[in-house]
């Protein structure tokens, strides 16, 4: 499942030989993230974010498991147990800030990872399965973060849970029973908090499982690269270790600096003040908003305001869910044979001047106070969002004349690929 020139693991002493025979785990690691995995030599820093996302998950699990030792999932004491963590548990404040900001940085990294995939069309054959599993991971992390945010049982926890579970109420006929069933009551209360805690604890481990599948399927075709041209010969690749371990190590350092600066100097900047008020079912906050990473989707939800055949609320729910679910069919929508946005002049324009501003506008509107301006802006951006993925992308390849691609990765890096020109290595990569 790798390239023929991949280095082979050879156990160095009797002990590792013995382990390799009984359980070839070191071999697996060697082939997955060691010298045995040949990787295109021209990856940019946009290829750092997969490893960083994995790091974030580990970080959330480690901080989360310790938080869970001190947290009490009971509506009567959840808020004060969180304050107990902040005040009385040794370094509890650091754990909690690390976990809360860790969620934000997790999403930041995931978004950059996804944008990389969108710009370089990493979702295209032969990498569809990697992409599909990635969307599953994203959905799992969203669900986890949503339920995690409910746990401190502040005002935004409560009202966020109420609004989001209320969305199920928009489903005709069965909506309300489903909502009551999900919450274990008419409004979020102890039953809801308990099951959210249980699932918030469980889902990261499910995510870890799907990540293993994600990487497994990645190792069949190997990583794509900024040219989008597939690996042709050994000179196109370098072994993952030490080349990309070193580069990822540096990337991790930069990431940690940004993340730790946030944890220690601006830990509440990304949060909402209302979540330091204990949940109160009788006092509705002036502006119920989710965490920043949900803002674009929240804006889509609020953009549908007109009862067109179906109630507006139902359109909003359908629109919001579709905006992510449509990523599942992306590999079959974009038919351009060229992967990388570098060589697609029209695609590139729509990406930078259409999609990116559209998402930023949605993000802004989703977090802002509702006003005529934010509603109208989010409606235009929502329209563009669906047009971009569902109409423009499928049609684009018929109009676009791609720019000439380099013959190989080596040529793109070195300016010429002597071996390739000489036809020395023409065996296809498997």
């Amino acid at each position: 499942m790798s390239f023929p020139w991949a280095k082979q693991y050879s156990p160095g002493n009797d002990f590792t030989k013995w382990v390799d025979e009984k359980l070839p785990l070191p071999r697996l690691v060697y082939n997955a993230v060691g010298a045995g995995y040949p990787v295109p030599r021209n990856l940019s820093y946009m290829w750092n974010f997969g490893v960083l996302a994995g790091f974030c998950l580990v970080l959330q699990i480690v901080t989360g498991v310790i938080l869970a030792m001190h947290y009490a999932p009971n509506a009567l004491v959840a808020f004060s147990s969180t304050e107990h963590i902040m005040r009385d548990v040794n370094w509890g404040w650091m754990l909690r800030y690390a976990h809360a900001n860790g969620a934000s940085f997790f999403f930041l990294v995931l978004y950059l990872h996804i944008f990389r995939g969108l710009y370089y069309s990493s979702y295209k054959a032969p990498r569809e399965m990697i992409w599909l599993l990635g969307v599953v991971i994203f959905l799992l992390v969203m669900a986890t973060a949503f339920m995690g945010y409910v746990l401190p049982w502040g005002q935004m926890s409560f009202w966020g849970a109420k609004v989001i579970t209320g969305l199920f109420g928009a489903i005709p006929l069965v909506g309300e029973p489903i909502q009551i069933w999900l919450l274990g009551g008419y409004a979020p209360d102890n039953a809801a908090l308990n099951r959210f805690f249980s699932l918030h604890f469980l889902l990261p481990f499910v995510t870890a499982g799907v990540i293993i599948l994600h990487i497994w399927s990645l190792h069949i075709p190997g990583s794509s690269n900024p040219t989008g041209v597939e690996v042709k010969s050994e000179s196109d690749t370098v072994p993952f270790h030490p080349y990309y371990t070193a580069k990822d190590g540096f990337g991790l350092g930069v990431f940690l600096i940004a993340y730790m600066a946030m944890v220690f100097f601006l830990p509440n900047y990304l949060g909402h003040a209302d979540n330091y008020i204990e949940a109160n079912p009788l006092a509705t906050p002036a502006n119920i908003v989710p965490e920043w990473y949900f803002w674009p989707f929240y804006a889509i939800l609020r953009a549908f305001t007109f009862d067109f055949i179906l109630p507006a609320k139902l359109w909003g729910v359908i629109g919001m869910f579709s905006s992510i679910l449509l990523w599942f069919i992306l590999p079959w929508l974009d038919r351009s044979p060229v992967r990388s946005g570098h060589y697609r002049p029209l695609f590139r324009k729509f990406f930078w001047f259409g999609l990116i501003p559209c998402i930023l506008v949605l993000g802004y509107c989703g977090g802002a106070h509702l006003s005529t301006f934010t509603i109208l802006a989010s409606q235009i951006a929502t329209a563009y969002y669906f047009l971009h993925f569902l109409v423009i992308l499928p049609l684009l390849s018929s109009f676009e004349k791609p720019e000439p691609l380099p013959y190989s990765i080596t040529e793109a890096v070195l300016g010429s690929d002597k071996k390739a020109v000489l036809g020395e290595n023409t065996s296809p990569a498997v």
Binding site: W93, Y243, L256, M260, A286, G319, L387, L395
Partner: protein, 285 residues
């Protein structure tokens, strides 16, 4: 086939959201929403002159200020507001010794149980007790305050946007209704039992101005207890109570960042070293 369906769905979504757009734009153009006094006359929170000692990456508590702030809280605010997350033992952060804390706690009364009869009584507080609420429950609190419940103050500076500046501004911001407001919004009134304060979200707040005159609290140091000074001091105390670990957090952050910076530079150098063999010299096209 997938593409045809997708295009259909895409156009449908666009159509529906654009209908919403037209309907909303039409509504916005035909009905004008009148500006509200709450919107026009609400003022943004401001810092005191000289800012806060604990702000900024090198911020530190001003211990004397926290002690003065505690005194303001105790003598003024505690008549209406409790602090359920602050225990007397936490006052050690303010520089008090164990004995001082024991004596200080004993000046407060908390609910207790009569050891002889098991009946509810009041007893002197101990260092492990938390600062009590003056009211037995929310109903009593609302009944005594014109139907508004004075919130617990433990977390108040974190529970408001720009909370530290906000609390300071609120406490020192009571004033008569400005004439421009009366001119622009003649129907705006401050009902009996409410007080005009432009920093409060709804402009009329149910808290009577708590700080009313210089010298209201007698400071133990030679700081003059003017209204802005008391507002500043009690706000500093409330910032401490909302996050007692604030200064420790910043002080921990520095070594962490310096270490990471060092490690990242090393990682950069290692990466350059490793890649130097395969990185081509700059392309000359």
């Amino acid at each position: 086939m997938v593409r045809l369906l997708a295009i259909g769905a895409g156009l449908l979504f666009t159509l529906v959201v654009m209908i919403s757009f037209v309907a909303d734009a039409y509504n916005a153009a035909t009905t004008d929403t009148p500006e509200t006094a709450e919107y026009v006359f609400h003022e943004e929170a401001r810092s005191p002159d000289g800012g806060w000692s604990f702000n900024g990456p090198l911020g530190k508590w001003d211990i004397a200020q926290l002690q003065r702030g505690y005194k303001v809280y105790k003598e003024v605010c505690s008549a209406c507001h409790g602090m359920k997350f602050v225990a007397f033992r936490n006052l050690a952060d303010l520089g008090y010794t164990e004995n001082q804390i024991r004596a200080e706690a004993a000046t407060w009364q908390v609910p207790g149980i009569d050891p002889a009869t098991g009946e509810a009584t009041m007893r002197a507080a101990e260092p492990t007790d938390y600062i009590p609420s003056p009211y037995p429950n929310d109903v009593a609190a609302a009944a005594a305050n014109n139907n508004a419940i004075p919130p617990d103050l433990s977390l108040i500076t974190k529970a408001r946007h720009h909370g530290t500046d906000y609390v300071y501004s609120l406490l020192s911001g009571y004033q008569p209704i400005p004439n421009e407001l009366k001119a622009e919004f003649p129907e705006f009134k401050t009902p009996a039992g409410l007080y005009y304060n432009p920093y409060f979200q709804y402009l009329n707040i149910a808290m009577a101005p708590p700080l009313t005159s210089s010298g209201q609290v007698t400071y133990d140091d030679d700081t003059e207890s003017t209204i802005p000074q008391m507002a500043e001091d009690v706000t500093a105390f409330l910032t401490w109570s909302a996050e007692p670990t604030l200064v420790k957090r910043k002080q921990t952050g520095w070594p962490v960042l310096i270490f990471l910076l060092f490690a990242t530079i090393l990682a950069w150098m290692a990466k350059q070293q490793i890649w130097s063999a395969v990185k081509p010299a700059k392309r000359k096209d």
